[in-house]
């Protein structure tokens, strides 16, 4: 597999073409806007956490490159229905995987999100992949504080 194909794995291109979790973020209890200033890509993501601490609903809108859009989509599929603590753990794990530049192997818990491992090699794309995850993290922190 070439570096490029390792970056743009099939699952990423698929999610980019048919993204999951798209919808009105402002209909959720908490929402957050994230921007990548170097390219202008942006995501607004909303999440609702129920009393049991479970992410009961999660929707986003935005525009950006295939990495940022597919990543938000994969995350929606992975974390809708997850507990807040599990979500924090997955977000951290995802961040670690990217920052390690390929050194940290993803666990099975990351499921499809493991496909983003190749992004770590491309420093300038890490922010793209993190965009939706950072927005969710902000929503969850807000919900935990509330």
């Amino acid at each position: 597999m070439s570096d490029l194909d390792d970056l743009y794995r099939e699952v990423i291109l698929d999610h980019n073409r048919t993204p999951q979790g798209k919808g009105d973020p402002h209909a959720e209890a908490h929402s957050h806007h994230e921007l990548n200033p170097s390219c202008g890509d942006e995501i607004t993501l909303g999440a609702t956490v129920d009393e049991a601490g479970t992410i009961s609903s999660l929707h986003w809108e935005g525009q950006g490159c295939s990495i940022s859009m597919a990543s938000a989509s994969v995350m929606s599929a992975l974390l809708t229905g997850a507990s807040r603590d599990d979500a924090f753990a997955r977000i951290e794990e995802f961040r670690e995987m990217l920052r390690s530049r390929g050194a940290v192997e993803p666990t099975e818990e990351l499921e499809d999100a493991a496909a983003f491992q190749g992004v770590g090699k491309y420093v300038m794309r890490i922010k793209c992949a993190m965009l939706g995850w950072v927005a969710l993290e902000a929503c969850l922190k807000e919900s935990a504080a509330a």
């Binding site: 490029l4 390219c39 890509d41």
Partner: protein, 424 residues
Amino acid sequence: MRDNGSVSSPDLGRARRADFPFFSSHPDAVYLDSGATSQRPDAVIDAEVDFVRSDYAAVHRGSSVATGEATWAFESARERVAAFVGAGERELVWTAGATDALNMISLGISDASAGLGDDSLALSAGDEIVLTEAEHHANLIPWQRLAKRTGAVLRPVGVDADGLWSIDAMRAVVTPRTRLIAFPHVSNVTGQIAPVGDVVELARSVGALTVLDACQSVPHMPVDVSALGVDFAAFSAHKMLGPTGIGALYGRAELLDALPPARTGGSMITTVTLDEAEFLPAPNRFEAGTQPVSQAIGFGAAAAYLSALGMGAVRAHEERIAEALVEAASRTPGVRLVGPAAGHERAAIASVIVDGVHAHDVGQFLDDRGVTIRTGHHCAQPLHRALGVASTTRASASVYTDLDDVARFGEALGEVRDYFGVTA
């Protein structure tokens, strides 16, 4: 890929690569990001390194022979860069870069407006600053800040669907209250070349100052700021084969002597008491603190290198590259080229939008094919908003760029949409 048999200048393009160590390290590289920053020839690197290894000393301070020699080298570099753009020696100020130079003007006018210096340059509430929607952020945000500090008002000249502004549109915006017109000599996104003479005439008709963002012109064509008649100009060494960390501010002598220095400190003063400081005349009044000394030597060497090539020849070479870039972009299905239409004058800068593929993904694909270009908003968000996209993919040339580079760019561009599965 090219089939019309035209060749680029024998002295430029591939022939020049031997001078650039970057290409020895990366013989197959297609480097089309010179608009962001250029590679440096041995002549520039060596001038700086030789100076640092054997002749390094403080300049303009103290009386040692070493200091004298270093000061001599430093001032000779200034003469060289000044001559390169048709400025007098006293009219060329070293800055940290073009952005720093533009801020030096706007911050100086802020101080003049606040009563800290010559009030001939002061702005009042309601005075107008004209600039274009094509501006690089470096020639936009400093004026926004100046407007906020003084109550002056920004009057933007809009661009059309291709990102182009016109002197007619500027005429419609300029009024007797216009005090300053800031504009790009060459747009770093569209490659449009400004009608400088018309702008200067327009400015003079209302008594406004002109500020020329010359970042993308000075490295690529003959530029004589005195002949152009602009009041101020700014450019950076790192886009013209020189080092990072240095740029230049040009200002007409009498304006520089009137402009309050925004940055203060050592080496720019005559007498300092605890309460007051008197400033030197230009250029030294703007050169507070230890200057980018070895970088100035490198900047001088870059100007000498380009002078030896001849800026007329450089422009002729890059015109051919520009044509080829336009052709490559135009012939690729699903690709929209912004800026001047084929057959019209432009710098060797081509920004494209690939239908259905985000610029970051285009860039990544080209990068994988060994073609380094630049993606993003290129520090020109208002222009991109006018183009209706968040980002574009830009190819830009320099003296070492060859038609082969353009061919490789065109080839890779032709494959992008396939790779990402976008149907034509």
